[in-house]
């Protein structure tokens, strides 16, 4: 305890009855990183977190913190939660309502039988770190949600765990507070240098906070990379569509190798197929183009290779504009247009898809073609 450690997860599987919650997951969480497990509800991220904490037991696999094995199904090792030295910040905060802020935070130190002075000094120090000094004598019910969350973080930080786990810690807060606490979390991570494993279904949170993101679905890690990489080079359609609000545009097309292009929207439009990709696809194969709304270029006049599309909704939120466009076959495309190009009287805008921003995915596997 005390030192900052990496976490090695090897082939961890957990089933509940007939459902596989975590399916053969292997990840290495670097020491000092802020790794986020991201995915829709029921994807297994919270289960994985609880397995790390020792609150659930995996069926198979191995987990190491630093060089010490805390779980190994083959050697029948399962270090109990209270001896792992791993902290967990709960979604519901789980502050003990009958204890004051001070008592909540100092509890772990008391269990370690530290001296009275040291307990007081460390408790006050950690309360200062999370910006809760002066609240020592309050009871949890007298604090706001955000304050409760800070205290619950302090309670786990004070014992200096080798790894700090967080289970959707911001999901119970209102939008404004969530933004503030996000900044706070980032600051605490930088101040402590702690290894943090963070669970969320909010991809903006994952993008802004993490050094690494593991996107999960159906108990499987779909992609594990730095957030920008996950966003810009999503490894499959699930990741591409899960990341980003509004979601990425998916345009389905057919490969026409002879013309070196992909025919889109029932043939009224097409997209040039780069030379390096031609060997990876077959003629007539169905593929999906993915392009994020902010990468679409709109113009009022026709451009070389542009597609004329009908505008059916123009949503101006102030800082940015989202334009909803529709192709003749019903394909809907959302573009974020910071230049505020206005459609002409024919309610049409010309859409250009920059080749370097477009990603191609296979129809059956959903994998990135690269």
């Amino acid at each position: 305890m005390g030192s900052i450690e990496a976490v090695h997860i090897r082939n961890v599987t957990k089933t509940f009855g007939s459902t596989v919650a975590v399916n053969d997951v292997s990840l290495t969480i670097p020491a000092g990183s802020f790794t986020t497990l991201l995915g829709p509800s029921g994807c297994g991220k919270t289960t994985l977190l609880r397995i790390l904490a020792g609150l659930e037991q995996a069926d198979n696999g191995q987990i190491l913190v630093g060089s010490s094995v805390i779980y190994d199904s083959e050697q029948a090792i399962n270090v109990s939660a209270r001896k792992r030295g791993i902290g967990l910040v709960f979604q519901s905060y789980a502050l003990w309502p009958h204890m004051t802020v001070f008592q909540n935070v100092s509890y772990g130190l008391k269990l370690r039988k530290l001296s009275h002075d040291e307990i007081e000094q460390r408790t006050l120090a950690v309360l200062k770190t999370v910006g809760m000094e002066g609240y020592e004598k309050r009871y949890p019910s007298e604090l706001s949600g955000g304050q409760q969350q800070r205290v619950s973080m302090a309670r786990m930080l004070v014992v200096e765990p080798s790894v700090l786990l967080m289970d959707e810690p911001l999901s119970n807060l209102d939008a404004k507070l969530r933004l503030n606490l996000r900044a706070e979390l980032k600051r605490v991570h930088e101040a402590t240098g702690m290894t943090i494993v963070y669970v969320t279904h909010d991809q903006t949170e994952a993008m802004t906070l993490s050094t690494d993101v593991a996107v999960m679905n159906h108990g499987v890690v779909q992609q594990w990379a730095p957030p920008q990489e996950v966003y810009h080079n999503s490894r499959n359609l699930f990741v591409a569509e899960f990341m980003g609000t509004p979601t990425t545009n998916r345009i389905t097309g057919t490969v026409q190798l002879k013309e070196s292009r992909i025919s889109l929207m029932g043939g009224v439009a097409s997209f040039p197929l780069g030379a390096e990709l031609q060997s990876l696809v077959t003629d007539g194969e169905t593929v999906h183009l993915s392009i994020r709304p902010e990468n679409i270029v709109l113009s009022a006049q026709e451009q070389p290779g542009s597609i004329p599309l009908a505008v059916y909704a123009y949503l101006d939120s102030g800082p940015d504009v989202h334009v909803y466009l529709q192709g003749p076959d019903g394909t809907t495309i959302i573009a974020r247009d910071d230049n505020r190009v206005k459609p002409g009287s024919d309610k049409t805008l010309h859409v250009t898809l920059p080749a370097d921003a477009v990603r191609l995915y296979r129809d059956e596997s959903g994998d990135l073609i690269q």
């Binding site: 904490a53 020792g54 609150l55 109990s80 939660a81 209270r82 001896k83 792992r84 791993i86 902290g87 967990l88 709960f90 979604q91 519901s92 905060y93 789980a94 502050l95 003990w96 309502p97 009958h98 509890y107 772990g108 269990l111 370690r112 009871y139 949890p140 019910s141 007298e142 409760q148 619950s152 309670r155 786990m156 014992v159 289970d167 959707e168 999901s171 119970n172």
Partner: protein, 598 residues
């Protein structure tokens, strides 16, 4: 909007007065005044009033004069008030503690651990609560009874030859044990719901910080259930202190008197005023206890404020100790709940008490005709006119009481919900909850004091079935009102307003919208009152006459005059009726839940 602002201005105009809801409010208020307010006031008034007997006994006093005589006598005579009071408190404290230990241990085992067969424990743990509170007193006597006072021997003495010391047969010790075994389900239910409602993440947080299971139990789990524990302790205490049956049966023979017993003996001695004074004392104790209970709920450390989302429960693993603890708990419940009832059943087939030989077997107490050689000529249950009348009385009182009480509860619920925040609605709500504060025996005394003579157009009801039904209605009103309010909450808002806007008249709305949606709440109200009434003794014991005897009072009077087998047989019959009806209720609830549209 417009309509509402107009009607606020002409609030007491003719338009408002003829509105059905206004009429309903007035009728309900009148009913509550007659059922609760006036009887309670009359209790206090009668405690100061000289009776006909007083006018002979006390010089210069006429019947109906206001006198302080009885209050003085009660306070001066130690044996009249202070001794029974002390005994009552002793028994109540003891009972509450016994109930708390058993109830909370069982609750923890069933709710928070992976104990094998905990479902069967949960099932058995609520059985005593369904039975009359003194159901165990009879088998207790049957088992431990000694021959010291010329009584036939109990099972233990027959089996082992040991003469059980009298303090274990009669007096505070057996009373506390028997009542503790009756009231522990009460604690069990409250504590297990408190335990179910703890977010187990509170415990997990402690574990992650390095606490052992015992440290977590002590510093997190236990404080979390303390409010529930205290509440159940106070409520068990409040119930015990108004209970008549067990203390009368197990305390009477050695002169150990508690307040309810003293109240009844004052009434028998024609000292009604003193009985009323003791009833007032009982009510005051109960009010203080329930007030304390209120104060305990909603402190700033309340556990119900936090939690909610991300709620998970993870049972404590007992490991190898599990099967042993499970076996121990099963044996305990079987010995204290199931076996006594079997012993009761068995002894009802014994011609002579205390002889467990097969040759002593008889069906006389169930089917026999009157025979002067056995039990003073009392015929067996199924041929005994008193028993048959008592059964019909019990059923009639329970059915009529249940139905009337449930109807009232629904109507009051409707008025309260519709008039939220208005004085009138608050009056209805508060008054209908008052009987909660009044122990059963005192409630009986209150009705004795009020309905014994004609009131206005109402004839004297003493000795009529009507009085018995009214008693049930008044005493159980808090429960049906609570069901009424909660089921009306879901219906009497926008659902009714939508019908009103569609043009439905009030009776039509009630019939088409409100009734169909609240029917299941109504029926469960009827059933709950029915079942409580079937097992009720303390409420009726003061007011019954030979015409209005019910099963419980009859069972009790047989036990009192030493007709033990008859009494045992009757108790068995009563328990069977209760269990069958309870099973039917469960079945009904199960079915109605299945058929309810989502």
């Amino acid at each position: 909007m417009n309509r509402r602002s107009v009607s606020t201005r002409v609030r007491w105009g003719l338009h408002e007065i003829v509105q059905p809801r206004f009429v309903l409010n007035v009728v309900l208020a009148a009913v509550l005044v007659v059922l609760i307010v006036m009887p309670a006031v009359s209790l206090v008034y009668r405690s100061f009033t000289a009776s006909l007997v007083d006018s002979f006994r006390i010089p210069g006093v006429q019947r109906g004069d206001l006198i302080l005589h009885h209050w003085q006598r009660v306070i001066v005579t130690r044996s009249a008030f202070f001794v029974p009071l002390f005994n009552s408190l002793l028994v109540a404290v003891g009972t509450a503690l016994v109930a708390m230990v058993i109830g909370s241990a069982l609750a923890w085992l069933v709710v928070r651990t992976d104990l094998p067969f905990r479902r069967s424990l949960a099932l058995m743990a609520v059985v005593p609560y369904m039975l009359p509170s003194w159901a165990l007193a009879l088998p207790w006597l049957e088992f431990f009874k000694n021959t010291s006072a010329g009584r036939p021997p109990g099972f233990l003495q027959v089996l082992t030859g040991i003469e059980v010391p009298t303090w274990l047969v009669f007096g505070p010790v057996p009373i506390i044990i028997v009542m503790g075994l009756h009231y522990f389900p009460f604690v069990y239910l409250i504590v297990s719901s408190a335990l179910t409602n703890i977010d187990s993440q509170l415990e997990e947080a402690s574990e992650l910080l390095g606490a052992t299971r015992w440290q977590t139990l002590r510093s997190v789990t236990f404080p979390a259930i303390v409010p529930g524990l205290f509440a159940s302790l106070l409520l068990a205490f409040a119930r015990t202190i108004g209970t008549y049956g067990t203390p009368a049966l197990l305390g009477g023979p050695v002169g150990f008197t508690v307040l309810p017993v003293q109240i009844r003996s004052f009434l028998r001695m024609n000292l009604a005023a003193r009985a009323y004074i003791l009833s007032i004392g009982l009510i005051l104790i109960s009010v203080v206890l329930l007030y304390l209970n209120q104060r305990l709920v909603g402190t700033r450390k309340s556990f119900s404020l936090i939690g909610g989302k991300g709620f998970k429960t993870r049972p404590v693993t007992l490991g190898k100790a599990g099967p042993w603890i499970s076996a121990g708990a099963h044996v305990f419940l079987i010995v204290s709940v199931i076996l006594p009832l079997l012993l009761l059943f068995w002894s009802s087939f014994m011609e002579r008490a205390g002889s467990y030989n097969l040759s002593n077997f008889t069906l006389h107490y169930w089917f026999g005709a009157g025979d002067q050689a056995i039990s003073a000529g009392e015929p067996g249950l199924f041929r005994n006119p008193r028993v048959i009348r008592g059964t019909f009385n019990s059923l009639r009182i329970a059915i009529f009481g249940g139905a009337i009480c449930a109807v009232l509860g629904m109507l009051i619920g409707y008025s309260v919900v519709k008039g939220r925040g208005k004085t009138f609605s608050q009056f209805l709500e508060k008054v209908s909850f008052l009987p909660m504060l009044i122990p059963s025996i005192a409630f009986g005394a209150i009705y004795m004091s009020f309905f014994a003579r004609p009131i206005g157009p109402l004839p004297a009801l003493y000795g009529t079935m009507a009085l018995m039904v009214l008693l049930v209605v008044g005493k159980q009103l808090p429960f049906t009102t609570r069901t009424g309010i909660s089921s009306m909450f879901q219906v009497a808002g926008e659902l009714e307003e939508a019908a009103e806007i569609s043009g439905a008249s009030w009776p039509r709305r009630f019939l088409n919208i409100i009734w169909p949606l609240t029917r299941s709440g109504f029926i469960s109200g009827v059933l709950i009152v029915f079942i409580t009434t079937m097992r009720e003794l303390s409420l009726f014991i003061l007011v019954i006459t030979s015409r209005t005897e019910v099963l419980t009072t009859l069972t009790f009077s047989y036990a009192e005059i030493g007709q033990q087998q008859l009494s045992n047989a009757l108790m068995t019959l009563l328990i069977m009726i209760i269990l069958i009806v309870t099973a039917m209720i469960k079945l009904y609830e199960h079915l109605s839940r299945r058929h309810r549209p989502a």
